[in-house]
Symmetry: D2
Subunit: 89 residues, 4 copies
């Protein structure tokens, strides 16, 4: 995913969050608000996954092919950490 | 959770998303962006849970104590559905 | 979902976990093991959702229609809690 | 995480699932069963994360440092895929 697409998606998500705020202000039905929040989260998951994909193909690949063992260790540890957070360990 | 708190939290989240957009524009480190997205999602989860709590104590309670079996069925089905989406069935 | 179906599904999941153990013992490819674990979790989500559905239609409905305000509060609080855990607040 | 620890954890999880089956057979309180299922899922997440960590430090590192571009692409795509599933895109 290119940076342009990431930005475009994030701006759509910002608009989506504003829509949820409007629903809350207008006292929309609770379940409809929750559903929209869940839609925002699904969109955020797609952005995260796209960013991770880019990251693996750039920084992670460079670090692993590089000569600095600390750097290699660091990038791999970060992947594990974001995966752990994503799966809520 | 009162509606005021929901709104306040959602506005904080909107600001947080704008912060993530700025990070992406300024070409911040991928993992830092992903971590901020994960923080936004944790905040959204708290809002959803708060809204669900209010909903159970108001609409759901009213519907279940009411006389319309279709309405009762509907509100309970909705709870099951948002739970299913939350757990990604 | 009836109790029979819950039990049947849980036994299938137990067999699935045993399959994952066998994969680990036989030194299967890491990603294949992770995928099977993710499949087990999707199956567990379905069981949880089914149990919640039954619970809403039985205990929760009875408590809310009943005369004990503490009991009403308790059952609704529990729903909020399992939702919060599911969404990892 | 070493393979021994993975196996040990998976066997504990198998026992935990059997415990959940027993609860269902003995008609335990729905919410208690759901909580135990959520505990099983948290344990499975820890196993997945441990396996991913090992995988990054072994297969992924080898593939990225290797000469086969298809292999490199494949291992990175797999990481993205399990992340996407974990975040339920």
């Amino acid at each position: 995913m290119q940076q342009d697409q990431t930005l475009k998606r994030l701006k759509t998500i910002e608009g989506h969050v504003r829509g949820v705020i409007r629903m809350a202000e207008e006292d929309a039905y609770c379940i409809d608000i929750i559903r929209q929040i869940q839609a925002v989260q699904a969109a955020l998951n797609k952005v995260s996954t796209g960013i991770l994909e880019d990251h693996l193909n750039s920084c992670v690949t460079t670090a692993i092919r590089g000569d600095d063992p600390n750097e290699r260790e660091r990038v791999l540890k970060e992947i594990t950490e974001v995966f752990a957070t994503a799966t809520k360990v």
